[in-house]
Amino acid sequence: MIEIKNLHKSYKMGSNSLHVLKGIDFSVEEGELVAIMGSSGSGKSTLLNILGMLDELDEGSYDLDGVPIKNLNETKAANYRNKFLGFVFQSFNLINYKNAMENVALPLYYQKMVRKERQEKALKYLDQVGLKEWATHLPSELSGGQKQRVAIARAMVGEPKVLLADEPTGALDSKTSYEVMDLIQKINDKGNTILIVTHESDIADMCKRIVHLKDGVILEDKKVEQVRASEYV
């Protein structure tokens, strides 16, 4: 599904150049649940941004589902993001003046789906995350865990090939974190490919594979025995 070879990325900081990713070789198969771990500055967010086509690589190659991702202009990147990827963020990033259903339906708007279909599909996905009754509530009326579930529904509604989650539990307490992870595991059980950036090892243990990044290189890449979040809920 994801195929990365010899990925390099550096940022210009004034006259200096900061080499963040120093030759990453990395691939993900369909249906995997991967945790990318590392301390801050390890390059894990940069990697996720490149995977999410929010940032461009300097050197190397990146294929997503057999499509080479390079030299994208904004419009094309937007198109690929919309078709291939779903995002979940630490700070949820819901649009505050839209209710839960409208937030979930937003990616479908950019897929040019008509309003009625959008709303039906959004409700279906809200139902899957257990928030159908909350469809007409604004984000400000939802708890953190509920917001993140709405965000996950939004990420999944476009039926992406890969779900990218950047610290999805970073702003949640441990009980809610496990609820969210339980949801993520269930989505993964259905065969969806998911990448999670986290620095919490208990969250990483709930994945099927952990990739450790340090100073821009992969330190360790191992399959793990998955801990089911439902045990903690």
Binding site: L54, E74, A78, R81, F87, N93, P107, Y110
Partner: protein, 414 residues
């Protein structure tokens, strides 16, 4: 262009950001409102001044004399300058071809005017048969003094409509009634109307009668002329000024009056005066436009400002939308669409409101020098369009900048 999904998205945004939308709309609507009202009153002043000058024939020129105020050629100031028939005849001979209508005037004073038991306190003037055209008087009944009346020194009299209404209200036909002036009976031959009431409070008799019957000799109080109508305003003014100057030079020479003595001899041209007023209204109009445009510019700045805030407020939302797959142009389009929609609606509201205010209130305004304030619809419409365009431009640059921000950075924006 008509994308129903986009419209729905915009209506959602507007519905959920009412205050923001209202403030944007208010600044646009008030800008247009103020501009239209100002332009309307500019036009109203021009109309009003034009109406003031329509009362007398616009090409009229009036000559009057008084006592001199300056020493000249050894003569002391304080001399009384008296116009005489001779002056009037010489002017008629010299410039007869240039003149359209002419009349000398004699103000008859010290007489008692009676109708039955009623005493009439109105001004009595002796004028020529052409004075009707100079004064722009319309006959309501009967006729004006004619040439035969002048030749025969007829005892006939023309009265103003207001006098007819006040004094002869019980009489069936005013025409044919007699007015007693110092014991002499004058037959009423006509009633005239004027646009202004106070000009209807006069009694006119033939000038010859006035001079002969009331011991006027050959003395004149006043001379009045009109010049033929010329289509071009500047030419008309030039013609009037030219005639006025020639008249002025002749009279000053004939009566030995200093050239700069403004009281001794006074020649007044309605045209020249009109030009002065038109120049003032021109300046006024320019001023109103200037203020109006400043208001519009203030409106544009207001809209730009609000758009700038709106966009920076929505930076994060733009980041989210981009992460979810919004193309840059769809975001710029959405923001512009909203900006244009809001400015258009509020601009037209301001336009409709101000235009209907002018339409409803305008005709009822009764103030000197302001008449029927109104505004050219096309002018008003184009200012709205300019404002909409400005709103679009004002929305475009911040939107463009916001879209250029890296999605990652936009998402971090709090």
């Amino acid at each position: 262009m008509f994308d129903i999904e986009r419209w729905q998205e915009i209506f959602d945004t507007i519905r959920k950001n009412k205050l923001r939308t209202f403030l944007t709309g208010l600044s646009v609507a008030s800008g247009i409102f103020i501009l239209v009202i100002l332009l309307g009153f500019g036009q109203g002043m021009q109309n009003g001044i034009a109406a003031e000058f329509e009362e007398d024939a616009s090409t009229s020129i009036w000559v009057s004399t008084s006592t001199t105020t300056k020493k000249f050629k050894g003569l002391n100031p304080g001399r009384r300058i008296q116009l005489r028939n001779e002056n009037y005849d010489i002017v008629a001979n010299l410039w007869g071809d240039d003149i359209e209508y002419k009349s000398a005037r004699v103000f008859v004073r010290g007489t008692s005017i009676n109708y039955g038991k009623e005493t009439l306190v109105y001004s009595l003037q002796g004028v020529s048969h052409q004075y009707q055209q100079i004064e722009n008087a319309k006959m309501v009944k009967g006729r004006w003094i004619n040439y035969t009346d002048e030749i025969n020194t007829s005892k006939v009299i023309v009265i103003g409509k207001k006098i007819a209404d006040d004094v002869f209200k019980d009489v069936e036909t005013t025409i044919g009634e007699f007015i007693d002036i110092s014991g002499i009976q004058f037959k009423i031959i006509g009633v005239y109307g004027e646009t202004e009431n106070r000009e209807e409070e006069r009694l006119y008799i033939p000038i010859t009668t006035a001079q002969q019957v009331f011991n006027g000799g050959d003395k004149l109080n006043n001379m009045a002329y009109t010049l033929p109508h010329v289509e071009n305003f500047d030419q008309a003014v030039a013609q009037a000024v030219n005639f006025k100057n020639e008249l002025d030079i002749y009279l000053r020479k004939a009566h030995t009056v200093a050239p700069d003595d403004t009281r001794g001899v006074r020649v007044w041209s309605a045209m020249e005066e009109a030009k002065r007023y038109y120049a003032i209204t021109g300046n006024m109009k320019f001023f109103f436009w200037f203020v109006g445009l400043c208001t519009i510019i203030a409106g544009i700045v207001g809209v730009s400002n609000i758009m700038l805030i709106v966009v920076s407020e929505r930076t994060k939302e733009i980041g989210i939308r981009k992460a979810l797959g919004a193309k840059p142009w769809s975001i710029i389009g959405m923001i512009l669409h909203e900006a244009i929609f809001v400015t258009a609606i509020s601009g037209f509201l301001g336009l409709i409101f101000s235009m209907s205010l002018l339409e409803i209130v305008g005709p009822h305004i009764e103030v000197d020098y302001i008449l029927n304030p109104s505004v050219n619809f096309n002018v008003a419409l184009s200012t709205v369009l300019v404002l909409i365009f400005a709103g679009a431009v004002a929305g475009f640059f911040p939107a463009w900048r916001a879209v250029r921000i890296h999605t990652i950075d936009a998402l971090r924006d709090e």
